[in-house]
Symmetry: C2
Subunit: 366 residues, 2 copies
């Protein structure tokens, strides 16, 4: 691990059952009019009506934009920004999983900045609408990061935009909003969060601060392995998963992700494999290759996981069920694509195109 | 531990040997003219000349205000603010231990706000000069908190002022600046940091996030117990102590402190006992009383410390050497004074005036 590191995470976190309603004053300071950004299904877990109630109680007006697709597109965030300008939104409230939360960041930015050179080429400035994020899944950590992952059709992948100004002002963590979460989404998002914590510990930017957060994240997430395996969640286990996911978000806000995410984007872009599942499919084989080069560090990670390599691999396998498989030629192509991703350089272990192919082959070959 | 919690710490942290010189650009963004706030001795460890070199290299001008006494007074921060206005400072650079770093916060605020109602009665607003903090001791954690502790002669104690706007913008963590630190200061400041981590775990505002930081803090600080006991430090041990202290600062930024600090202020105000030493004197007896009421939580704390009650108590005793002792009537008076401190309510265990007296008596009786 590098001795030098940087750490920055300016989002205010408010956690606990009912925290949105109990902190209505935190909404009041950001202006008169809100744009609520959410997905079609995110609206149904109680979070939207809680936010609407708070805004009405505060005498604030709002408009709901709920046309964010899974894996948000440039079109959807451009439309969202147009609506934000049209209704004169002073701030944005994001409700949902990674897609609405990431889309809300791009919308909050595009509402104030003309990205004439295109979203991905635009140098993001400071002027962004204030954002309040309410995760309703425990996976992305977007509520505490400066990243927004948007589908990039030109490059046929998902591309991350990043800027200090994209950190939300406030993140509300209430596990109650995960009560109706389908089991497949609960599992996929938990795998995403585990991947964040683990990749963060393998980043060249890892430091003692992010390590402490990553270990706590893994302790909380893996502490719920029975709940995840059986699909039985209590209020406490939901809150633990959510805290684990947010902690992992605080980690990657400072460390970035590595090759797992780099490879996973192709599975999501070309085969609609859910993002967290894509990471879960690749993680065990990725760790096995890392273990050959940095065995001590990988041991530290398994110590944080609280399971050995085999047990963890079996646990992930059981969560995933039947694996997707792809033609060898596709796996070759995805390895090449991943080798061009900037997060490859971010890992303590250098993954050549051949190494990436080895991970993809071990994980997904027919 | 409360299920609900809040977490906020917006300071950017930059860590590692040479981090001031390697991050000259972080100074450039805050304006043309700096006021450097430091103590007489803090100037001699290399930090001041590094900062001067960076500012000159950036083409920025600066003035040095080095008349901050130990336990800064209202007069010293008022004078500092007058100088900041006089030289048109755009930002403040604080170099030193808790006294210069806390004073710099009050100066940065008073340079922009008229506190006509008095420093301690003033409602601190948002308009504060940007601050860059460089700790040269590993104890206070002031570089990552919103607190400034200033001597309050009217109330004959030390009083904390606090506001979101008092978080420094950047904290530079370079253990090299602790190279010339006298052993008594190294020990006293380490005891302060331990006290922050431990009191943070006993705060009613403790949560999983602060717990993770507190545990890592105690792991790092107590991992250097041999260095602390023997007064032999390596570059690595200095950096570990500094990281431990900053992590503990991140904890108390969110949890506040408890009765240990409340009682310690009297020892410092009336008997010039160094702040960290005052906490160290009281900590073991405080923990013994807490253990009667919340044994499980205290066990978690000793697990994080990595020693049992007796071993930790003996370790602290050895660090402290001969204890100060006071007349019973004084201890009674300090118990009464501490019982009025607002941080008494902040503890998981309620300490009545009688309990406070019991701690003081066990720690300091003739």
């Amino acid at each position: 691990m590098e001795e030098r590191f940087e750490y920055y995470m300016p989002t205010r976190i408010v956690s606990g059952s009912g925290c949105v309603q109990k902190n209505a004053s935190l909404f009041r300071v950001y202006g008169e009019r809100a744009l609520i950004v959410t997905g079609k299904s995110s609206a149904k877990n109680g979070a939207l009506s809680d936010v609407e109630g708070v805004l009405r109680g505060n005498g604030q007006s709002y408009r709901v934009y709920d046309r964010i697709p899974n894996n948000p597109t440039v079109e959807s965030v451009t439309e969202g920004a147009r609506i934000a300008r049209e209704c004169g939104a002073d701030f944005v409230v994001a409700i949902g999983g990674g897609s609405p939360m990431d889309a809300a960041k791009a919308i909050a930015m595009l509402a104030r900045q003309d990205a004439k050179e295109g979203l991905f080429a635009h140098a993001i400035g400071e002027d962004v609408l204030p954002m309040l994020h309410i995760p309703t899944t425990a996976g992305t950590g977007s509520e505490v990061t400066q990243y927004a992952i948007i589908t990039n059709d030109e490059k046929q992948t998902k591309t991350s935009i990043a800027a200090k100004s994209l950190f939300p002002q406030v993140a509300f963590l209430d596990g109650e909003y995960m009560k109706e979460l389908p089991q497949d989404i609960a599992v996929n998002t938990a795998l995403d969060a585990m991947s964040h914590a683990i990749e963060g510990m393998l980043s060249v930017r890892a430091g003692v601060f992010t390590d402490a957060l990553a270990r706590e994240s893994l302790r909380l997430l893996l502490g719920e392995r029975k709940a995840l395996s059986e699909g039985t969640y209590t209020a406490e286990s939901r809150q633990n998963l959510l805290h684990g996911s947010t902690l992992a978000g605080m980690v990657i806000a400072n460390t970035g992700t590595t090759a797992v995410h780099g490879m996973g984007y192709s599975l999501t872009y070309f085969h609609q494999v859910p993002h967290g599942r894509a990471n879960g499919l690749l993680l065990p084989a990725f760790l096995r290759i890392c273990a050959k080069q940095i065995p001590q560090r990988i041991e530290e990670i398994y110590a944080a996981i609280g399971m050995g390599e085999e047990a963890f691999s079996a646990f992930v396998d059981a969560l995933l069920g039947r694996r997707e498989t792809y033609q060898d030629s596709l796996l070759r192509a995805y390895a090449e694509k991943a080798s061009l991703n900037k997060n490859i350089k971010n890992c303590m272990v250098y993954f050549s195109e051949e190494d990436l192919y080895a991970v993809l082959k071990a994980s997904l070959s027919k």
